[in-house]
Amino acid sequence: MAKEYIKYVDVTKCDGCRACMVACKNWNDLPAEPEEFQGSLQSHAKVTANTWNVLNFIEHENSKGDLEYLFRHSSCFHCTDAACEKVCPEDAISYTDFGSVVINNDKCVGCGYCVQNCPFDVISLATYKDKNGKEYRKAQKCTMCTDRLEEGMQPACVVTCHPGAMQFGNKEDMLTLAEKRLSEIKEKFPNANIYNPAGVGGTHTIYVLAEKPSVYGLPEKPKVPTSAVIWKDYAQPIGKLMLGATTMAVMAGFVSNKLFNKGGHDHGQDEEGGDSDE
């Protein structure tokens, strides 16, 4: 069995060069998709189906009134308890032994449940056309370069990161590095923290953040939504919208069976406050 790995992002060493964005598009052969002017150096509002990582630029005045110019490489977190994996009616989303969460495009039907349920909003649907000109959709996101991991290489973004703001390695080693780094920067950044949210069982992209998660636009305490909530408030109406009512009716039993049969994976602790089960 392969080792469980973590991509560790130390935002305090990032200088915002965005080589990670280009390296990702290059390795994964993703097209450019210019968005409208964002009002800052940030190129895209968020990650999309064709832009799997986005460098966030944040101007923040800290409690002392000092200006901080913060950068965050944002991409899929590869949760240990991945909401996307739970809600996928087609079993198209799975965990790899490396710890990454991947989408099988052959199985994906483009229903969008994963998109709606991701606590970090990092999955999107890409629209393609088949040879008859008919449109179809597939969910897309960062794969942690699982194809590279299988060949013994590291993710493309990590390899290109020149100041060493990103590192990739054994889970324990990376967590140790993060703890060490946190102690080094606490004086300069009193609000610094390790972002490895327990509400999703921990993640395989972890951060050392200089400021509170909310400053970076991250949920302070993300959780896996409960199955019931997923089904009732999100999956059903959206599924109907996208697949049509008839198809949905057939899907409904299928999906709900799948979801509720997954007790072992579905911790369902989020409603109680999302404390860690580790």
Partner: protein, 787 residues
């Protein structure tokens, strides 16, 4: 760079001013991050809080164009509070030399100024010598005419209160900057200064750098690992370009281009004029003759002055720099233009006017990867009427660096060979191939001609293999140089001779290809040979030295200033300089020997120049930019008195009444210079897709501009549109009691390619530095309004 990129990891403090390396030279932060991990500090001084500032321990803003005031104040504080490295200053700089009493300075003007020619009689700024032709010294540094005292007097006017009134820097931040950087003046400590075009692109650009030089000599930071003055070059091969004579007044290896004056009418006369009486440049005739042998081969003999008469000569007092070339073009004095990878309609100062000048050409040959705004200046989409333009334009498609082989020389003077990755696309060719084909055809055309110009073309030794594709290995061998009889490679420039028996295309690179089969620019041994100098990786000129002036990394008696920072040191047992670098010094000259302290042996004095002759004076003095919202607080002289003016139509000057806002230009990581190479690439174009102007929240409020609004920026030269990027990272300055705003914008954009937008250089002034004539892109006046 005196040092190199990897060496940044050894610094105790990096003062980054006039540069934004986190954004424009990102690789530097790989090494600065390591320096930080070891406790090193970073100071960022910039009008705008940049990505570099975000990584710094200390940030201090200054208004664009006030650098000499800022650094002058640092120099004054360091002198007043005796924070300088006394032993270094006494032994390795010209502090103790006595200046002739013809030197004077009064109200912004040094002695010897001629208002009519806007120039100085620089002979008035010499050092006193005794009857034995030796420099007179006062080692106590007390003589009122010694450099140290004159310097102290000059900079005494740069007191903190005056300085911050001029720069707009908060006083407490300013004092913190000085104190943090002055820590590196303690023996054993090393501080580096990193700068780029934010320093140089001013009417006082060269003196901005000189001020850095004075600061670093005072703190004893030159020659040390982790120290130095490090110019971060704006392109991967700018260093190589200037090394190889790209500048009009230089041939290869920073030697003079001849001028057609009576004294330079003969080679002998020329050499007498350009060869100093002391210092290493006394060897210049050997380097020059070897270069002529490389140019003219067997046609260069002792009897024909080694072909000196074949060389093109400059016209006396004529300036051939970029702006003056465009002046001449505008006046119809230039018929044709070759443009190799250059795009003045986006990149040139007062670019709209430079575009006009292009239409006065009879012909233009544009050599580029893409059709640029400049090669397409005659088209409708450029706003031109093709029917009215008679210029014949030829476009030669060039291939990219990945499609050819050759070397680039990086900021650290490393000549690194690159191999071809893929074959050129279509019919595109490498620059070398294009020039080779041009040369062959010219020789063919002139073969039977008796035209006076034919002699030089015929004499040109052009033997780089058969056919249209040059053998680049033969070019490399010639750059290094060889014995003209035996054709064996020369081991190093110390073996070059002035009798025609050696050739060398570029003396500073002599040694990179010292013997058959050993092209050192191809070396890739990544084993650290000590202190991160990697002596077996590539080749650094001169003589593979990684840190210039490294004699000064040791005390006068040859011991390292610090055991943790060994550059070179004197080994008495071996009678040699040894250490982690190739000694930048005669390797067996003992500290006690004659000249044993001459760490700066290229100069006639052998001493670092606290006092150094430049076109506008021997000490830096603050003058305001060509366009400034305030009057000069240091003297009644507003503009650098030695800055030259060009053709009137180009010289438009805006006043603060009409254009109250300071503007500056800069680059982003994703785009390259005038943009042709990046604005045509989808993955880079999506990252910075739009022209923008950064505006402070305060100015935006005053002007009623909201984030993402379209705005118009106007200057005396023109106007452009851009998106407003409202930011906390620009703050208004308080200058001499009044609020002054500054905005900034990238200069990469044009109308060609995927990412398009207004060209900032349609706003910039056509004036430049008094020594180099680099344009003043970095400080001018503008106004901003909602579109």
């Amino acid at each position: 760079m005196t040092n190199h990129w990897i060496d940044l990891q050894h610094t105790d403090c990096a003062l980054i001013m006039g540069g934004n390396p986190a954004e424009n030279h990102p690789i530097s932060f790989r090494w600065l991050t390591k320096a930080k991990e070891k406790g090193g500090k970073i100071i960022s001084v910039d009008p705008r809080f940049t990505r570099t500032s975000s990584q710094a321990d200390l940030y201090a803003p200054l208004r664009s164009g006030s650098d000499i005031a800022f650094v002058g104040g640092m120099i004054n504080y360091i002198l007043e509070n005796k924070l300088y490295h006394e032993e270094y200053v006494k032994n390795y700089t010209n502090a103790a030399l006595i200046v002739n009493d013809t030197y004077s300075f009064d109200d912004g003007i040094f002695g010897g100024y001629d208002e009519k020619t806007r120039s100085y009689d620089k002979t008035l700024w010499g050092f006193k010598k005794d009857e034995n032709d030796k420099y007179v010294r006062d080692n106590t540094l007390q003589d009122p005419n010694c450099v140290f005292q004159l310097m102290k007097k000059h900079f005494s006017r740069y007191d903190i209160d005056t300085v911050v009134e001029v720069t707009g820097t908060p006083k407490d931040a300013y004092v913190k900057v000085i104190e943090m950087f002055a820590e590196t003046g303690k023996p054993g400590k090393a501080g580096t200064i990193m700068y780029a075009m934010g320093t140089t692109q001013h009417t006082v650009g060269s003196q901005n750098v000189r001020a850095f030089g004075i600061l670093q000599l005072l703190l004893g930071n030159i020659g040390l690992q982790g120290g130095g003055i490090n110019a971060m070059r704006g392109e991967s091969n700018v260093q190589g370009s200037t090394d190889f004579g790209l500048l009009y007044n230089n041939v290869t290896g920073y030697m003079e281009t001849p001028t057609s004056t009576p004294e330079e009418a003969t080679y002998k006369g020329f050499l007498e004029k350009v060869t100093p009486k002391a210092g290493y440049w006394t060897n210049k005739p050997k380097f020059y003759t070897s270069m002529l042998k490389a140019y003219y081969g067997n046609s260069a003999t002792a009897t024909n002055e080694f072909g000196y008469q074949y060389m093109p000569k400059l016209t006396p007092k004529k300036d051939y720099s970029h702006m003056r070339v465009f002046d001449s073009m505008y006046k119809g004095e230039i018929e044709g233009l070759f443009m190799f990878g250059t795009n003045p309609v986006v990149g040139g100062p007062n670019a709209g006017k430079e575009k006009e000048a292009l239409s006065k050409l009879k012909w233009m040959v544009a050599i580029d990867l893409w059709e640029t705004e400049s090669s397409a200046f005659w088209q409708k989409e450029a706003g031109a009427n093709p029917a009215e333009i008679d210029t014949e334009v030829f476009f030669l498609p060039a291939c990219s660096s990945f499609e050819k082989e050759g070397s680039v020389s990086n900021s650290g003077r490393w000549m690194q060979y690159r191999w071809q990755a893929i074959a050129p696309k279509g019919k595109s060719k490498g620059d070398l191939e294009i020039i080779h084909m041009l040369a062959l055809r010219q020789k063919e055309l002139y073969k039977n001609s008796s035209h006076p110009a034919a002699a030089a073309v015929k004499a040109l030794d052009w033997n780089y293999g058969h056919g249209e594709h040059p053998d680049i290995d033969l070019v490399c061998r010639e750059i290094n140089g060889y014995d003209t009889k035996t054709k064996t490679q020369i081991a190093g420039f110390k073996d070059l001779l002035d009798d025609g028996s050696t050739c060398s295309g570029n003396w500073i690179y002599c040694g990179f290809y010292p013997e058959e089969g050993k092209n050192h620019s191809k070396r890739r041994d990544n084993k650290d040979t000590g202190m991160g100098n990697y002596l077996n990786w590539s080749f650094a000129w001169p003589a593979n030295r990684r840190i210039l002036g490294n004699r000064a990394s040791a005390t006068p008696d040859g011991k390292p200033w610090s055991k943790d920072r060994v550059g070179i040191q004197w080994d008495a047992a071996q009678n040699l300089w040894v250490g982690n670098d190739v000694p930048d010094f005669t390797k067996d000259r003992a500290p006690k020997d004659e000249g044993g302290l001459s760490a700066f042996f290229m100069l006639p004095t052998g001493l670092g120049g606290l006092f150094g002759v430049m076109n506008e004076g021997p000490f830096p003095e603050h003058y305001e930019p060509y366009e400034s919202p305030v009057t000069n607080a240091f003297s009644s002289v507003q503009l650098n008195p030695a800055t030259k003016f060009g053709v009137e139509e180009f010289m438009t000057q805006g006043s603060a009444k009409d254009y109250p806002i300071i503007a500056t230009t800069y680059r982003v990581s994703e785009h390259w210079q005038a943009g042709a190479m990046t604005r045509n690439l989808p993955w880079l174009s999506e990252l910075v897709a739009y022209m923008f102007v950064e505006i402070s929240e305060e100015l935006a409020k005053e002007k009623g501009i909201k984030n993402k609004d379209k705005v118009v920026i106007t200057s005396a030269r023109g106007n452009i549109e851009a998106y407003a990027m409202i930011t906390k990272r620009f703050k208004p300055f308080k200058i001499q009691g009044k609020v002054v705003h500054q905005v900034g914008m990238p200069w990469h954009f044009g109308y060609k390619g995927i990412a398009t937008g207004g060209s900032a250089n349609h706003l910039t002034p056509h004036i430049g530095d008094a020594n180099t004539n680099i344009p003043e892109y970095k400080a001018f006046l503008c106004d901003v309004r909602r579109a």
